[in-house]
Symmetry: C2
Subunit: 353 residues, 2 copies
């Protein structure tokens, strides 16, 4: 065991990997050597991380030798293949893909909520939640502890970068094509025509539009994204019977997922007490003064760590329900930050400090 553990970042050149490197430069340093890995097309690229110029390498099994903690941000099938190899070579894997999240012997950890579960990792893998779940759950969990959560009805406003750098590129390209034509958006199909084939990873144009679909098709008309939000919320909160209905919608925002939350509790709630709970909750910042134009929005929350919560009010027709709006940076708390936080918990455990 070295004095400071060795870290590997797998998927270092993607949208989330790039933010991970930024975070490693900005957060308190708990790491010894840092190794960066990506697919073959990034091999040899130089990336600045923690003040050093690091060379991105292609993955091999041997590359994990000597690695204590490996953060994975790669597609599900890549994680499914490589994470067990990293474990075999001695690393603890913190995985941001969907490959292991719902496995019973893989903990799904949000450090503000269930940090102790990092230690229960029989397969050597700890999972990070989906970006939409993470934005919202940091605010929901402290309210659950106070009032006892029974049901969530959620509608999301998800940013292009949730689909990776290709999503961001597509949105900017589309905006470039529609800008300047002030007639667009007023006739059926005119935006489709202007955008043409530049859809990127989305099933329809995102510019001047909202797309009520994210992820693959699951059963009975549900999207995989909506199922993730339901199943991960239940697992993180330890509430296997929690009622959850989520509608996941992509919007023309670069970074920052927002969620309109309707949360029903076992006990009566009071808006002012709920605000006080959230003001004291880790990872949450309250921005809730509509009279002065203060509410959570992606253009403010992007690039920041906490979940921004506002528009909090008690349901008018149900004294046990709260309505509120949350915005979080889907690349930070929704991905890289939560991964880094989990990895730091493991580093602390490994080094005893």
């Amino acid at each position: 065991m070295p004095a400071l553990p060795t870290l590997a970042v797998v998927g270092a050149t993607g949208a989330v990997g790039t933010v991970l490197c930024q975070l490693l430069s900005a957060r308190r340093n708990v790491w010894g050597e840092i190794k960066l890995f990506a697919s073959a097309r990034s091999d040899g690229r130089q990336v600045r991380c923690r003040g050093e110029e690091l060379t991105v390498q292609t993955l091999t099994p041997e590359a994990f030798d000597g690695v204590d903690v490996a953060m994975f941000d790669v597609p599900d099938e890549v994680a499914a293949h490589w994470a067990p190899i990293a474990v075999t070579r001695g690393a603890v894997v913190v995985d941001n893909s969907g490959a292991f999240r719902m496995e019973r012997d893989v903990p799904l950890v949000v450090p503000e909520i269930n940090p102790g579960q990092t230690r229960h990792r029989p397969r050597g893998i700890i999972a990070n939640g989906n970006c939409t779940t993470l934005a919202m759950i940091v605010a929901v969990a402290p309210l659950h502890r106070e009032y006892g959560l029974r049901e969530l009805v959620l509608a999301s406003y998800q940013a292009a970068s949730g689909a990776g750098q290709a999503g961001v590129d597509a949105l900017h390209t589309q905006l470039g094509k529609i800008a300047g034509d002030r007639t667009l958006g007023s006739r059926p199909g005119d935006v489709r025509q202007a955008v043409g084939d530049d859809l990127g990873p989305f099933p329809a144009p995102l510019a001047l539009n909202v797309v009520p679909w994210a992820g693959l098709l699951a059963d009975d008309g549900w999207s995989a994204e909506e199922m993730k939000v339901r199943n991960e919320s239940r697992k993180i909160l330890g509430l296997p019977d929690l009622k959850v209905s989520a509608t996941c919608v992509r919007v023309p925002v670069v970074t920052g997922h927002s969620v309109a939350v309707h949360a029903v509790f076992a006990a009566e709630v009071d808006a002012e007490s709920a605000r006080e709970v959230l003001r004291n909750a880790p990872g949450v910042i309250m921005v809730d003064d509509p009279a002065t134009g203060e509410f959570p929005m992606p253009i403010d929350a992007v690039g920041t760590d906490p979940s921004w919560v506002g528009r909090l009010r008690r349901a008018l027709d149900d004294p046990r329900a709260l309505d509120f709006f949350v915005t979080g940076d889907n690349l930070r708390k929704g991905a890289a930050l939560n991964t880094a936080q989990i990895a730091e918990l493991v580093a602390k455990e490994l080094t005893g400090r």
Copy 2:
């Protein structure tokens, strides 16, 4: 009584008034003379309507003499002043403002739902609903008739034109300012800086953002828009105790309001039967095949009459609840079309044909 009734359009040069004139040109003609009114700054402007060039006039009390039906699309305070004057001069007023909607002696009519109420107008005024209510209620009402509605949880995705032509202009101006800079949307405040003071009628930039606020501040942190959706839904459906929680959010779309709907009913529901109900419902078009990329979106629904409904599925954890997504043209069914439909019902009553 003339063979064909005389129609006045008050607010003929605004975003909704412009669509009203287009609709009057396209729909079956039930009108004799058409008179167009607007504020003094549009006085004398020529507007093409029903194949004629009409001159826009400034309002005077005498201008309503001989008018049988007056459609109003003006700010609340203008409607509050002028609608009673029009009634005194002999016109039936169909008002699209919020000034009279919740008055007990003013019917709030959606012709697909409660057409008979146009005849119960002791004050001579019939109100048109708010654009967000209308987009969604056309789909909710037939499901209510089938299953008995108990509760609605709604999150909206509202277009810029809901705030009038000034909203559309502001969005296009903002898009012009942000286009071409592919770095925008990734750092806190960078979009605010690029947009500058060109906010138009919105409290924050709409480009690359979502703004969880529409309308004035009501009590307890609710927006006036959210209160309208609740109160108007109850009145239109005749359900004074209906539980409604709405979160109203503005998105960078030109025209086309969308709503994510979670509807809880008295009886168990079945997604396929619900789809059949909606396929047979007037004013609704089902677009619900996610496997082929078919779901309701503003870029397709804009410029069309029906409410587009899709993403319909039964809640996984509540057999009495349905989740679905609706998009409607907020200037058509959400405003001008519903106004025209009500006015046509009155024309039919007045002429007996």
